[in-house]
Symmetry: D3
Subunit: 141 residues, 6 copies
Amino acid sequence: MAPRVYVARRFHFSAAHRVYNPAWSDEKNAEVFGPCSHPSGHGHNYELEVVVAGSPNPDTGYVIDITLLRKAIEAQVISQLDHRNLNTDVPFLKGCIPSSENLIVALWKEIAALLPPGVELVRLRLWETPRNCFEYYGEYI
Amino acid sequence: MAPRVYVARRFHFSAAHRVYNPAWSDEKNAEVFGPCSHPSGHGHNYELEVVVAGSPNPDTGYVIDITLLRKAIEAQVISQLDHRNLNTDVPFLKGCIPSSENLIVALWKEIAALLPPGVELVRLRLWETPRNCFEYYGEYI
Amino acid sequence: MAPRVYVARRFHFSAAHRVYNPAWSDEKNAEVFGPCSHPSGHGHNYELEVVVAGSPNPDTGYVIDITLLRKAIEAQVISQLDHRNLNTDVPFLKGCIPSSENLIVALWKEIAALLPPGVELVRLRLWETPRNCFEYYGEYI
Amino acid sequence: MAPRVYVARRFHFSAAHRVYNPAWSDEKNAEVFGPCSHPSGHGHNYELEVVVAGSPNPDTGYVIDITLLRKAIEAQVISQLDHRNLNTDVPFLKGCIPSSENLIVALWKEIAALLPPGVELVRLRLWETPRNCFEYYGEYI
Amino acid sequence: MAPRVYVARRFHFSAAHRVYNPAWSDEKNAEVFGPCSHPSGHGHNYELEVVVAGSPNPDTGYVIDITLLRKAIEAQVISQLDHRNLNTDVPFLKGCIPSSENLIVALWKEIAALLPPGVELVRLRLWETPRNCFEYYGEYI
Amino acid sequence: MAPRVYVARRFHFSAAHRVYNPAWSDEKNAEVFGPCSHPSGHGHNYELEVVVAGSPNPDTGYVIDITLLRKAIEAQVISQLDHRNLNTDVPFLKGCIPSSENLIVALWKEIAALLPPGVELVRLRLWETPRNCFEYYGEYI
């Protein structure tokens, strides 16, 4: 029996997006989404917190080498988002309205695929602004 | 089956309060509550985080329009607290010692009543100072 | 003789931009600006701190009513930037590469024009990210 | 010739205040100060940054022992403000409208009196909220 | 039936550590731990958040007097860590690789022992840097 | 005549230090420096803000390419400090009591030497903890 410890790492990326539904007219988009749907887009400094869980390895005291975790997520995930436009530039968001809700669900799959055995993805937090935050735990309803 | 995503929004208000029990003498209040019970009161910049959960609407990518959520809570709840005295000015705190514990439980009822169907209140966090924080999940024991 | 006090207020806006020089080829832009020049743009949560100075009015204790200052700058300046694209949507940035250096110099003129007599604009600070910040004091060299 | 280094320390206090002019009617106070003048008051978590300057002592590498500076300011100044009402409880604010402008000027005198020879008070910063800040450099105009 | 409220308090300590396994050679330590294992050590400003839960006492509105909680944890726990070397100076870390995972599990036992009846320890968060954070809920797997 | 704009970039490093004067006994060090002088040392997460000034280049809108500035300072300066012991591991601190005052003065020389013509170093800020900060402007007295 070993303690279950949670390890969290924060990432940063700057991206543009426009929240709109391509099936709708510009008028309907403006009515539903307001300034979030301005045609030339806007952008954010996103903060992403990735939380994994597991037991500390008795030889290292680590659940996971946080430097390796950081490098894998930066190379495979953040590099696809940073200084990009979420509507047009990100393969794993293709065909998806780039709301933070849809972004965080898409990030779950990308990040879970990078974790070694024995380390479980348990929570993502995504700040769109310092006051607007989204969380996902891999749950379905 | 749809993903369950959590949406959090932070609010700010500045208020005065004095923690004391009107059934007790000033001496007993001073003894139990110390400087929190100084007769002329003191105050805080409170930060409140409201977390709701639901499934993103496929047409909008939103669990809830966070701007509408923000406006409803500001108009119905924050406006009753900001630049007010929690002991004397807030109808929904009448008869209640304005500790942060009691405040957060009272806030739960006010905020839950404002949410549309399909959106569930799941967590409140209330910072009284940057180092003192209170959480409530609607639980009873 | 009256004390000179500085009053600072922070503002927030989310905007898209692309740093590029329209006189250059896409290749030269990519070479000079790197990912900041990706064609579809990217974006930031900007924080702007406006600092003015003056003497407190003996009747009010205020250098300036910070609520009035806030409302004027939000209505006249922030509303032109928030949820906008700095390359295409902002009249006072027309013809200007929207680097944070050029943005802060342009903001100085917009904000100085809004101040009442006896209140002097002394400093602007503009955070493009939490780690990149720009300051302007109205100086020329 | 020795380098001049600036040493800054932050303090925290929670206080109530009501911004009003006792020479005016409640109506005039409400008209001029708005919600800042509500009769039962409101409050803030104030942050105060004290900045002093001097040359590092060659034997210690210190301009001043920051622990001694902290203890002196906590004991002599912060203790008079924390968990107090600025309108009624603070001797050095007697007769003064407790705006942050007046508070910061009053704090200058209190703090300057505590510094040892060779250490100069150069700047105070007082945050009333995370977005409203006041600075004072001891200047008169 | 009474509401269950969570009360969180943050603590700060500055400590040195070196992540290494004394059963390994310096070469193996360098290979596995990289710069975290430099022989002379390095250090951090740790932030610790302690979260307890219980029902507010009807007479006080408090789950626990947060000032008493703070003083007990500072006197019994933080004082053992602040301005110390985690490899050599802390009795409750004896024989343990001072990774943040091992530190947070050790802290659980120290802090749980200090709580009065009716107040339950539910979560610890430990920030090693602003971007690296560890959580523990007392779980075993 | 061109505007003079200030560009600030923040850096992070984690290091151990012990404040003590090798010319003194352990007793005198303990008496003067208290816990800052514990023999096994302690450590901090340092934040360093580097501020340079110049005129924006009309072709780029930049005073300096902040990515190049960042990379040069990380490679030449931060790499010498991060995950190191300031008493023993840093060539440019040799023979110097590693107080933050002495560290910031030493950093000035290291960083000034890296700047291109037309870009002037104007301010360093060094946070030892979130509440203790040091500033240096290259001044001598």
